[in-house]
C-alpha cells in the first residue's frame, strides 16, 4: 500500500471543528447537522422552517470561503460535465432516499449510536470505494 499526501493534523483539527459545529446545532437548535437533510428541507418549505436551513448552508460557504482568505484551500475537480451532472443527481437522489449523507449518518448518526446510520455509512463508503476502484483501476486502468 502506498500512502501519499496524508495530513493527519489538519484532518483531526478540521474534523474536531465539524464535531463542534454538529454538537452546537444539537445543543442550541435541537437539530441534526445533516447537510442533505437541511438542504432537502428547502424543497418542501414550511413557515418558520426556511431561514435556519438557508443560514446554515450560507454559513458553510462563509466558513470555508473565510478560511480561504487566510490560507490556501486547494480544490481540484477532475470530473467531466456529464459525470458532474450524473454524480450530482445520484448524490441528491440517494441522500433523500437513504435519509442522510456523510454528515447526517456519518458524523451525527454514529454519535447517536444509530444502527441505521452505522449501516448506511458502511454501505456508502463501500459503494463509493467500489466506484472509484472501477473508474480508476478497471475502466481507466
Amino acid at each position: 500500500m502506498i500512502i501519499e499526501n496524508f495530513t493527519p493534523v489538519s484532518a483531526l483539527l478540521g474534523g474536531a471543528l465539524i464535531g463542534v459545529a454538529a454538537t452546537l446545532l444539537l445543543l442550541l437548535n435541537g437539530r441534526i447537522a445533516g447537510v442533505s437533510g437541511i438542504a432537502g428541507g428547502l424543497l418542501r418549505p414550511a413557515t418558520g422552517d426556511v431561514a435556519w436551513r438557508a443560514l446554515f448552508l450560507l454559513g458553510l460557504m462563509i466558513g470555508a470561503g473565510g478560511y480561504g482568505l487566510v490560507d490556501l484551500v486547494p480544490i481540484r475537480i477532475d470530473a467531466s460535465l456529464p459525470i458532474l451532472v450524473l454524480g450530482g443527481l445520484l448524490v441528491g437522489f440517494g441522500t433523500q432516499l437513504g435519509k442522510g449523507c456523510t454528515s447526517g449518518h456519518g458524523v451525527c448518526g454514529i454519535a447517536r449510536l444509530s444502527r441505521r446510520s452505522i449501516v448506511a455509512t458502511l454501505v456508502f463508503m463501500i459503494s463509493a470505494g467500489l466506484t472509484v476502484y472501477l473508474v480508476r483501476h478497471v475502466i481507466g486502468g
Binding site: 500512502i3 478540521g14 463542534v20 454538529a22 458553510l60 484551500v73 445520484l90 454514529i110 456508502f124
Partner: protein, 148 residues
C-alpha cells in the same frame, strides 16, 4: 431569530472544518476512497476527529430536557434497516465516488466560485427534487391520481 443565529454559527464552524481538513477538495476525498491507489487516509481522521467531539457532545445534549434555544429536539425516529436506506446509501456512494463531492463540501465549495461546484450542486437539488416528486406521486390516493 435566535435559531437562525445558532444555525449560521454552526454552519460557519462546519464550513471552516471542511476547509481546514481540505475535505472540500474532491481530489483529496477520492484519494481516500482509492484504497488500491496512492492512498490518503486523511478522511478517516476527519471522521475520528468529528466523532471524538460528537460522541460525548451528543450524549450530554440528549440528556437535556430541551435544547437551549428551541422547544424540543428534532431527531430521526426510524429504527429499522430497510431497502430504502440501503439503496439510498448505495446510490449516494456511487455519486460520491464519481465526483468526490458529498453535500456539505459541495455547498461549501460554492464560496470559491468554481463552475463545477455550481453544476454539481444544481444537479444535486434536481436529484433530491426527483426523489420528492417520485415519492409524492406514489403517495397520492387513487382517486387523485385518476383525476390527474
Amino acid at each position: 431569530m435566535l435559531q437562525s443565529a445558532g444555525a449560521l454559527l454552526a454552519g460557519i464552524i462546519f464550513g471552516l472544518g471542511l476547509a481546514v481538513s481540505n475535505m472540500i477538495n474532491p481530489a483529496k476525498v477520492l484519494a481516500f476512497l482509492d484504497v488500491a491507489g496512492r492512498w490518503d487516509p486523511s478522511l478517516a481522521l476527519v471522521m475520528a476527529g468529528a466523532l471524538a467531539v460528537t460522541l460525548p457532545g451528543f450524549r450530554m445534549a440528549l440528556r437535556w430536557l430541551q435544547p437551549l434555544i428551541a422547544g424540543h429536539f428534532e431527531l430521526p425516529s426510524a429504527k429499522n434497516i430497510d431497502a430504502r436506506l440501503l439503496a439510498g446509501a448505495a446510490i449516494f456512494g456511487i455519486g460520491w465516488g464519481l465526483v468526490g463531492f458529498c453535500p456539505g463540501p459541495a455547498i461549501a465549495s460554492l464560496a470559491f466560485g468554481l463552475k463545477e461546484s455550481f453544476i454539481f450542486v444544481a444537479a444535486m437539488f434536481v436529484g433530491a427534487w426527483l426523489h420528492r416528486a417520485g415519492s409524492r406521486t406514489k403517495a397520492l390516493p387513487r382517486s387523485a391520481s385518476q383525476r390527474a
